[in-house]
């Protein structure tokens, strides 16, 4: 390589890393890398360094993956490298870390108890808890799988969904290292706070959910009332007030995201509302118009895995979104799939061991027309067809069509529910649009199937 080429290569690599390289630049970089193995290697080294630096400094990064995993991990991998860098200048995060240590050392007063433990698996080193167990400040609830409901003496009710690690720093604050948490906070306890590796959430009298991935990315979804949230990384401490129906993600940077009620369990076994009743469900990925999204199969969406009974342990990997045993399956995060040109077809789901089965989906449109809604707008385009296979000796094939669901506001989120007759062995759902002229803005956000175990 000539010095000029080397210089050019450096610039090209920098731009590629920053995401600012244009098509011509990529062609140049490709030419250099294609001719010279050393150039290709240098580019690879730079991109891997970038990945490492992002991990090192990224707000959303935890040194170890799920806290529950204490396998033969080498000390090298566990080394909490980035804490040192946090100390370099990140006042806000430092406060959180110190705060955590502070509470660890404080005296252990009893602050509440476990009111329910459902299908729990506990890590070997962790305390096993059952309904009635007292909880002391400073204790950490570590859960590999299942659900545990906590009642704090100040009236706060929490449901922790494993895998999770939640430290009860005090009656006023807890720290969710990873996992999913639903909180119901009475007015008297307003100000109650949840810390996470990337966000701090302060309650303003409400019900909300917090989900923290193994990588430390935190999502805050508000069901009722309001919370105040802020990024741990942002020293300026900009606050994001969130109201009912709003959600925010914190990780590398922060952004408003779609509210997704299905990620959170809000009640255990109250009035039969045990999370047990979700058989399958998914939310979709946006495919840009004109792309070949037909080739994205149901198996890519996770449905097939469920129908084969294999969906379960995915939960342990992707952060507790898929549930086990008699529980729920909710794959992927709240993204959408445009129905403009295609139909959405799902692999059949075996429901023989369930009764009272219902198929539901939530949909919406982003059409501008709905900013100034006319009376009685009927968005008569979406069609759902549910076909089912009957048990041997059963009657007709099931076919449902659902059309013409009214939607009056842009943020409306109508849910369509289709009951499935008993005696059905398996069901498959197809969604499509009848009128492609008006449907480019229709999105299906989630599909889920519920039922009770026989």
């Amino acid at each position: 390589m000539t010095p000029e080429q080397r210089h050019l290569l450096t610039d090209l690599i920098t731009a590629a890393r920053d995401g600012t390289l244009d098509a011509a630049g990529w062609e140049q970089l490709g030419k250099l890398a294609g001719q010279d193995a050393e150039a290709l290697r240098l580019y690879a080294l730079h991109r891997l360094l970038q990945a490492r630096l992002e991990r090192e400094f990224g707000t959303g990064v935890l040194p170890v993956a799920p806290g529950a995993v204490r396998g033969p991990t080498t000390s090298r991998e566990c080394r909490p490298l980035h804490w040192r860098w946090v100390a370099v200048g990140l006042a806000a995060a430092l406060l959180v870390v110190l705060g955590g240590l502070w509470f660890l050392g404080s005296s252990k007063e009893s602050i509440g108890h476990v009111s329910e433990a459902l299908d729990c698996r506990w890590p070997e080193h962790a305390t096993t808890r059952t309904a009635g167990s007292r909880l002391a400040s400073g204790e950490t609830v570590e859960l590999l799988d299942g659900f545990v409901e906590l009642h704090l003496d100040n009236g706060v009710r929490l449901i922790v969904q494993g895998p999770a690690s939640l430290q009860l720093e005090s009656a006023q604050r807890c720290y969710l290292a990873h996992g999913v948490l639903t909180a119901q906070v009475p007015r008297e306890a307003a100000g109650w706070a949840v810390g996470t590796p990337s966000a701090e959430v302060i309650d303003r009298g409400t019900a909300f959910g917090v989900a923290v991935t193994a990588e430390g990315r935190a999502e805050v979804h508000v069901f009722e009332g309001a919370v105040e949230s802020r990024s741990v990384a942002n020293a300026s401490g900009k606050r994001y007030p969130l109201k009912s129906g709003q959600a925010q993600v914190f990780g590398r940077g922060t952004a408003a995201i779609d509210f997704d009620r299905f990620r959170f369990v809000t009640a255990l076994d109250d009035a039969g509302q045990r999370p047990a009743n979700l058989i399958a469900g998914t939310s979709f990925e946006m495919i840009s118009p004109g792309s070949t999204s037909q080739s994205a199969t149901a198996s890519e969406l996770g449905f097939e895995a469920v129908s084969q009974g294999k969906g379960l342990p995915v939960a342990h990997v992707i952060g507790g979104q898929a549930r086990s045993g008699r529980q729920a399956f909710l794959f992927r995060q709240g993204k959408q799939w445009s129905l403009a040109e295609h139909e959405l077809r799902f692999a059949p789901v075996d429901i023989r061991s369930f009764k009272n089965v219902q198929v539901s989906f939530a949909w919406r449109t982003l059409s501008k027309d709905f900013d100034a809604p006319a009376e009685n707008v009927l968005w008569d385009c979406l069609t759902a067809r549910l076909s089912g296979e009957q048990l041997p000796g059963g009657g007709n094939q099931l076919v449902f069509h659902v059309t013409g669901v009214a939607m009056r506001q842009q943020r409306d989120y109508p849910v369509v529910t289709i009951p499935v007759p008993d005696g059905t062995a398996s069901i498959a759902l197809t969604l499509y649009c009848r009128n492609t002229d008006v449907t480019e803005d229709v999105f299906i956000d989630d599909v889920w199937i519920t039922g009770a175990r026989r």
């Binding site: 490709g30 970038q50 991990r55 995993v69 080498t74 990315r217 895995a305 992927r332």
Partner: protein, 177 residues
């Protein structure tokens, strides 16, 4: 010998936790945005679990997982214009091979990075922190530090080079390579 579902789950979770850094780096180095890399890692992890039964326990998990991540990536390239590299397939494949080869020493490089960061001047360290914490771009950093964009750009390019050379030197000195 057949393993129980629980044992298999535990084994998988352990392997995945131990190797996820490398798998992530492999994906991250091939896409523009970190958020895409996160998503693809998630999708890959689901496939890894589904196919865990096929994994030869004597083999290297990173290699196996990256093989699957690679197919996932190339499938996505066909599906999503945005993700597609502007390189011919043959070069994109060679690049992935190169990444895999380097990932064999990823642990050593990660460890070296920690020491190399310590060797930076405090201002350099601050600059790199600003760049990667919250993914600030050069313009935002320049505004914040009241420096010109080109000065920040140059400084960042230099720091990356310093780090890269420091890491490679460390590996040679340690005899890892």
């Amino acid at each position: 010998m057949a393993m129980s579902q629980d044992e298999q789950t535990r084994e998988f979770v352990q392997l995945f936790a131990r190797h996820q850094r490398r798998i992530y780096a492999f994906i991250r180095a091939q896409v523009r945005d970190a958020s895409d890399a996160d998503d693809i890692l998630q999708e890959t992890s689901a496939v890894l679990w589904e196919r865990f039964a096929e994994f030869d326990r004597q083999a290297d998990f990173t290699r196996w997982a990256c093989g699957i991540a690679r197919r996932k990536l190339f499938a996505l390239y066909r599906l999503k214009q945005r993700l597609r590299p502007l390189w011919p397939d043959e070069l994109a494949e060679r690049y992935a091979d190169q990444l895999l080869e380097l990932l064999g020493e990823e642990d050593a490089r990660t460890q070296a990075l920690g020491r190399c960061l310590e060797k930076l001047e405090p201002e350099q360290r601050e600059l790199i922190r600003l760049r990667y914490q919250g993914e600030a771009d050069v313009r935002a950093i320049a505004a914040r530090l009241r420096r010109t964009e080109s000065a920040v750009y140059k400084a960042l390019t230099k720091i990356h080079d310093l780090l890269l050379h420091c890491i490679e030197r460390t590996l040679v000195a340690e005899g890892t390579r």
